[in-house]
Subunit: 343 residues, 2 copies
Amino acid sequence: MSSKKTKKVTIKQIAEVAGVSFSTVAKALNDDVLINKETKKKVKRIANELGYYPNLLATGLRKKSTKTIGVILNDLTNPCFIETIQEIENQLSNKNYTMLLIDSNLDIDTENKNIFTMLSKGVDGIIIAPVSSNSKNIQLILDKEVKSVFIDFIPKYKNINYVYVNHEYAALSATEYLIKHGHKNILLINGPLHLAACSKFQNGYIKALIKNGLAVDKSLIVNKYIKIDIVYQKIMDLQKDCPINKIYTAILCVSDLAAMGVYKALKELGFLIPNDYSVVGYDNTFFAPFMDPPLTTVNSPLNIVSKLSVGLLIDQIENDIRLTFQKKVEPNLVVRNSVCKIN
Amino acid sequence: MSSKKTKKVTIKQIAEVAGVSFSTVAKALNDDVLINKETKKKVKRIANELGYYPNLLATGLRKKSTKTIGVILNDLTNPCFIETIQEIENQLSNKNYTMLLIDSNLDIDTENKNIFTMLSKGVDGIIIAPVSSNSKNIQLILDKEVKSVFIDFIPKYKNINYVYVNHEYAALSATEYLIKHGHKNILLINGPLHLAACSKFQNGYIKALIKNGLAVDKSLIVNKYIKIDIVYQKIMDLQKDCPINKIYTAILCVSDLAAMGVYKALKELGFLIPNDYSVVGYDNTFFAPFMDPPLTTVNSPLNIVSKLSVGLLIDQIENDIRLTFQKKVEPNLVVRNSVCKIN
DNA sequence: TTGTAAGCGTTATCAA
DNA sequence: TTGATAACGCTTACAA
């Protein structure tokens, strides 16, 4: 009933069939109060019969609004983005927006290109997890005056909207939890420091040590790209170097994924978790409770970050608000069974 | 240097500064061979200085091409889509397209809305994992004559482009593998049958049993939404019902995620894998090798599906090809340590 | 080699 | 209550 062979139906064609002007059709379809109810009904019926759907490019060109939001992530490979994407998509759908998703692959130039892609495509706003906290791309977004929210990012300037998880506190609380359980030598498996999140995470770890009168041993800090097999290999190597004297008794990981690599290595080497080594993760991903033993980890409320980001961004767009908002969301430790008391 | 306070720069403004007509600017920016090299250089310099970027809505309206592809997935919650999204994004980026991503939440009406959203936004093509194989939405896409590829889908009609994983063979090979290891009573943890993939998966399982002269016991087939904790609960319940006589010795799961739920339940009940129960997954997700024991699973080459889909779709778009393509990709069993021989 | 003008499908202003 | 018409920013014949 609905679809004819005709390629694409426009309001002009509807107008012809309905015997009214195309501007009347436009108004009727937009529920303009001035249009006669009968005409409206008729127009809508015909539009429906012809299988009409609006050309949002034309609308966008006129109205300067596309109902699409650009989401620029720095690394789609990172599984904690799954949750982010899911929740952002969900929230945007609720508000009748769609998501243009793009990945910067942790590369500044790609990110730059991505920003221009989004601008060119006329997005109403941008949600971005920047590659680096001190690249020119951040200023670029501000200069172009596109509505934006930064996530997973700690800004140096004011006038930036951001929603971020307090990564420092995440590491701090996890480290203190380990310290309270008697651990004095804690291996930190972290990502590269040019990632703002990793740098903050490391700060938290160090602060906790200092606060508790413990020495910071640089050799216990690993900064690598946090791919699961890289972590696995790193642990294997570390253990090969010092198989006898345990120089650390606990391992704090910057992600649950990393913890998975740690688990595998330790088990392969015949160690028991938490008896031989305690492990703490970060993210509280869906698989954490299903690990063996269930992973004690810091819950990073990414769903909240996503929800807030979308909500605030859309608010800004629809109400043309100029106030900047800056939200910090606090992570919380989720205790399971991968840490034990020692001494 | 690059960004002025001016809101949005258009070719008209560039024209004014350059002292040429705006159509000359347009041609210069598009590297039209007819334009004088000096003019071109000058125009490009000015465009750059003014921080110009094209308005792709206008371009799209004229050229009927937006360089964006709509990706409609049926359930973003399913972790096997992570890989799909990653690879699709990756492939599209390589070809200078961007992805409009939307989730149908396994709901036909949402899917219908999503298709119209994509059409309205003028996507050059659609990659869709349909909610159901017999909904009207499939015909809708064909009627609207938008270039498309169906994934995770087995079509009833011809003239449909699809790339799909042979789910039937996946289940068949996994089941036969278990049978060869002496298992005669195999519990199937499957999703709901209205999902084409699940229906095919079940067929494969049944075919393997019949082929090997084994009875099909309906009570050994579970059709539930494959959420990790639902599976976990299901196994707990099953075991509560029959704690003594093992009515099955192996469990075939429709996803690695389901297998994770199975692992947790079995371990909690004090069973050893694979000694007490053998388990096989499906998807070969990133965490499968990191499970304990490493999960034997069927590799579903989603990256290949994604790569093929994007490649063929873009081919179609850019060369206006009308031939339909239909690709089947074959899964392969990845043997790890979650299955053992019995009897 | 450059400029003029029409048109893509809408919205919005003004006149009828 | 409806209809002309201009405009959004670009591409593309066609004219100069």
